[in-house]
Subunit: 170 residues, 2 copies
């Protein structure tokens, strides 16, 4: 069995977003924004065959999201919601899950160019998985409070840094 | 900025799968199998509003997946593929990503009942996010080698424990 649950960095997101306010809250709201994922040399062999996939999952460590609250007000709502029913970045484990469209993969140089991503520049990447429609795509899946939510597409400052309302857990 | 990238356990999967061989390799291949996610008391308030969502993402720590190789042979193929173009459990960060259908949520008792999941009994849960079709569902997204792969639906022993071909990284 594995030991402590410690993550390793496999790469870094390079984007044009330097602070949370104004950053798209989902990759679909960042289309056309240039972004790359730079993968460390020791992991580049694992990028083989990736270019055949139209989309990938990018799992990231949201390094600027400190602490969390269990009932935040999401970007697209005006009332508090259970944290696990939101995609808010401040979480017990601040892991980001982004479905992005692949433009090109340079496995030798370790560079994946994507069509838009919802991550701050410098965000550590912890995993990449292929998007497989057969197991990942459920159009029309009922979306709770999100289905009737407002059409906010970019972040504001509410989850930036460790706000006074966030439980500081580390 | 956050400190070391250490994960906390927020709950545990309770399933009928006790070993990798025979375990479904995706939740869609486990439909009808009873499974629950037991969430620790300190996080249960964050389960509010979750029941409105038809599906959720379950992020887990694949605690029995030791080491990794960068060019494994996936369950559904017969040749080696780049690790990041597979969903193989042995990865630099062994994080599982499962889209499961919610049957019921008992926030007070911290129990989410789901319709099938691809996890071993006792797998630690590290995050739960709502499935939001608008940002997660891309039917018809081109799926690389997977699109032409064989129809294997359950695991065999190839990624069980730390095989001789796995780089032991911890």
């Amino acid at each position: 069995m594995r030991g402590p649950m410690n993550l390793v960095v496999i790469g870094m997101a390079r984007t044009s977003f330097l602070e949370q306010p104004g950053t798209p809250i989902a990759p679909v709201f960042a289309e056309g924004e240039p972004a790359t994922l730079e993968i460390l040399p020791e992991y580049r062999m694992g990028l083989a065959d990736l270019e055949g996939f139209q989309r990938i999952w990018v799992l990231s460590w949201l390094h600027q999201a400190e602490g969390y609250e269990l009932k935040p007000v999401p970007y697209r709502d005006t009332v508090r919601r259970g944290l696990f029913a939101t995609r808010a970045p401040r979480r017990p484990n601040p892991i980001g899950l982004s479905c992005v469209e692949v433009e090109s993969v340079d496995a030798e140089r370790g560079v994946i160019t994507v069509n838009g991503i919802d991550l701050l520049d410098g965000t550590p990447i912890i995993d990449i998985k292929p998007y497989v429609a057969q197991v990942d795509a459920f159009p029309g899946s009922r979306g709770g409070w999100f289905d009737g939510s407002c059409d906010v597409r970019t972040a504001d400052a509410r989850f930036a840094g460790g706000g006074a309302d966030a439980q500081s857990k580390r």
